[in-house]
């Protein structure tokens, strides 16, 4: 009559002496797979400002702003509003240059609401990039000028004819 009741007691008592499955979290951690969607990471130098991730995002989490310096796009703002993120990975999938990626960091809680929004691009990064572009452009211009001068020197007649 009470067979099931006694069997149930047996199961719980059996479990009482068996090893436990708890993982003592902050000290012990389970390994995370490579595909895990944790905190997003942005690689500033890889980004080509193609806007693919912005368009792929279902929840309009990413805000991308660019500035054109010497015909080149410079990312001046890449804000990731994490509180609205669905962690679906569509941005990562859309990015052609792997500039946005999800890391394995899952401890995303913050004490203050504004801290949740990640502003990836720092002003100094923009400055550096701009300087780099300008420098590259200047170098290129200088090289071109030098080349032109060289050509001119080698072939002064042609230059004159052209003008």
């Amino acid at each position: 009559m009470a067979k099931g009741l006694i069997k149930g007691l047996g199961i719980t008592l059996n479990r009482f002496f068996k090893p436990k499955v708890t993982v003592q979290y902050p000290e012990e951690r389970l390994p995370l797979p490579d595909r895990f969607y944790g905190r997003p990471e942005f690689y500033y130098d890889k980004c080509i400002a193609c806007n693919m991730c912005v368009n792929a995002c279902p929840n309009r989490v990413i805000k991308l702003e660019t500035e054109t310096v010497d015909k080149k796009k410079v990312v001046t703002k890449y804000d990731f509003d994490q509180q609205y993120c669905l962690f679906c990975g569509l941005c990562q999938e859309a990015c052609p240059k792997d500039a946005i990626k999800f890391s394995k960091d899952f401890e995303l809680t913050r004490y203050h609401r504004p801290d949740i929004k990640i502003e990836f691009v720092k002003p100094e990064m923009v400055e550096r990039k701009k300087a780099e572009i300008k420098k590259a452009a200047a170098e290129k211009a200088a090289a071109e000028a030098a080349k032109a001068r060289e050509q001119e020197e080698q072939n002064p007649a042609a230059g004159k004819e052209g003008s």
């Binding site: 009741l5 149930g8 007691l9 068996k18 003592q24």
Partner: protein, 349 residues
């Protein structure tokens, strides 16, 4: 060791007597000391039992349970109580304020009062009453009124349903509880707890009254409102029953009182069926009071084991089981016991 507490008491008595106090005053002071000791014991054991319950449940569920506050998490309950004390006591609008606040104050009274007659060891009983069992049954059932009162005073429908369930459950399970004890009383012919324990020197009544013990066990679980008879709280149905609206210390009092009741029922089971302070297999080198507590904790473990294995019965099934199964069985038990005793006596004499 054996007479640790007894010697302490007699030492105290002689100390007070040497101070020139009259006998009545000494008795008076000593009585208070004994009751104070019981109070401390109940509170500490309630705290410890909350911890034990959490550990037992965790171990049965492949978990570890509290292990952060203090060594092995031993201070977890203390921390919880500290938190509950510091919380605001919220009184619902339109609640009967006086009764609402009276509930948690009174809830500890019945178990406290009953423990006065509990024999914790050889000669270790605060008040050796000759109607101890009767006193236990009478006072212990008082808590019903208090729980019902708090349920009614809360002005919450869940609380009210819970309160009504308490009454219904107590009325139907007090009956088999008492009737199951009657078997023991027939065997011993006394209501005095110490006498009952002394009568079990050779054989524990669990062997003479197995059915009585089983009925007592089931009814005892129902008395303490624990699974599978935890309809009063019935978390998945009526939130927390009569305690739904209680917060902070009020809730903590009910919570601890539940464990005090568990200890109480276990103490009674030990006294009536498990041979009280008698040591089994002649292991008398262990003091009697340790044996007693050991048996009490085995009983408590049994209660916890039930709770973490069984689902809850339904209210009509509870009533049916109480009235249609337990009451007839316990009456049959009394009948058989009576005949058995008569036969025993006629054959012997």
């Amino acid at each position: 060791m054996e007479n640790l507490f007894v010697n302490m008491a007699s030492g105290m008595r002689s100390l007070l007597a040497s101070a020139g106090l009259p006998d009545t005053a000494t008795d008076f002071i000593l009585m208070f000391l004994k009751l104070g000791a019981i109070l401390v014991y109940i509170l500490i054991s309630a705290l410890w039992l909350v911890y034990m319950e959490r550990k037992v449940s965790a171990y049965m569920q492949c978990r570890i349970g509290p292990n952060r506050v203090g060594p092995l998490g031993l201070l977890q309950t203390t921390a919880d109580i500290g938190k509950l004390i510091s919380k605001e006591i919220i009184i619902p609008r339109c609640a009967d304020k006086k009764l609402f606040l009276l509930g948690p104050i009174l809830i500890f009274m019945p178990p406290l009062a009953v423990f006065a007659v509990a024999p914790f060891g050889k000669d270790m009983v605060a008040i050796d009453m000759n109607i101890g069992v009767y006193y236990f049954l009478a006072v212990a059932s008082l808590s019903t009124v208090i729980v019902w009162m708090s349920g009614w005073a809360s002005n919450n429908k869940y609380s009210l349903i819970g309160g009504m369930r308490v009454v219904a459950q107590m009325v139907s399970y007090e009956m088999p509880l008492i009737l199951s004890i009657v078997g023991v009383i027939i065997l011993t012919g006394t209501l005095n707890m110490s006498e009952i324990i002394r009568a079990q020197e050779n054989v524990w009544f669990i062997f003479l009254q197995p059915l009585g013990f089983l009925i007592y066990l089931i009814a005892g679980v129902a008395e303490t409102n624990r699974a599978p008879f935890d309809l009063v709280e019935g978390e998945s149905e009526i939130i927390c029953g009569p305690f739904t609206e209680y917060s902070g210390m009020g809730f903590a009092m009910f919570f601890l009182a539940e464990y005090a009741n568990v200890v109480l029922v276990s103490v009674m089971a030990t006294t009536l069926f498990l041979g009280g302070w008698h040591a089994p297999f002649g292991l008398t080198f262990i003091p009697s009071w340790i044996w007693f507590l050991l048996k009490v904790y085995v009983m408590i473990f049994l209660f916890m084991w039930f709770r973490w294995t069984y689902p809850r019965v339904r209210v009509d099934q509870l009533m049916e089981f109480g009235w249609k199964v337990l009451v007839p069985l316990s009456i049959a038990n009394i009948f058989v016991t009576g005949i058995g005793k008569y036969l025993y006596q006629t054959i012997r004499w």
